[in-house]
Symmetry: C2
DNA sequence: TTAATATATTCATATAATACGATATAATGT
DNA sequence: ACATTATATCGTATTATATGAATATATTAA
């Protein structure tokens, strides 16, 4: 048995959180655009606000995404640079259009 | 709506296939050891053969892992170098011990 | 052809993930 | 305090995924 099993579990959770088209789109969008609020993301994806919010919660819970409040808005960003590298490997850089 | 949605779907599937501790362990093991047969993987992970086989099927279906038969055995390997990069980012290199 | 070994597939079921409407909270302006 | 805007949470129906026992297939040797 591989003695490193906890590392696999942790990484698997991280990947699982990333492994959803909507969440990939959110994270990729944040990487391209820098920071963003929920309304922008929502319009961009054309999904109910509650759905977006729940995806963001999952991303937050794994620190893939960081939230900071700015008045009425929550501003989201992607602090972990490893995430950017992984997304770049998978999707590339020039595929986001606002 | 992001026009690149298909790319997200495809990448999400790839990540989902990778996003399981047992499968991460299998892939990481293959990257460290080079090629390997199922029996070795199975002993290494101490799980039923059918479980390992099903995980391998999922990895094969997304071309994360390639299988070639050698007599009785199936020899597995990881042809896509992007996978190695992702695993290295997440887990590092020196964490596998046989 | 039969036996032995290695691996794959099928199936039943348990568990977890997802979507989205309804509702709640938080901040701001009047 | 009240209305407005932005975001979060809850309830629940639906769908997807994981597991392992049983069974099937493939390869080789005798």
């Amino acid at each position: 048995m591989d003695s490193n099993y906890q590392a696999y579990q942790k990484s698997a959770e991280l990947l699982k959180a990333l492994a959803h088209p909507v969440r990939l789109c959110i994270v990729h969008g944040l990487l391209q655009k820098g920071k963003s609020n929920v309304t922008y993301i929502q319009e961009c994806l054309d999904l109910p606000q509650s759905t977006i919010s729940q995806h963001l919660q999952k991303l937050r819970s794994l620190d893939i995404v960081r939230a900071e409040r700015s008045g009425l808005e929550m501003i989201y960003s992607v602090p972990d640079e490893r995430i950017g590298i992984i997304i770049k490997i998978l999707i590339g850089e020039d595929s986001y259009h606002e």
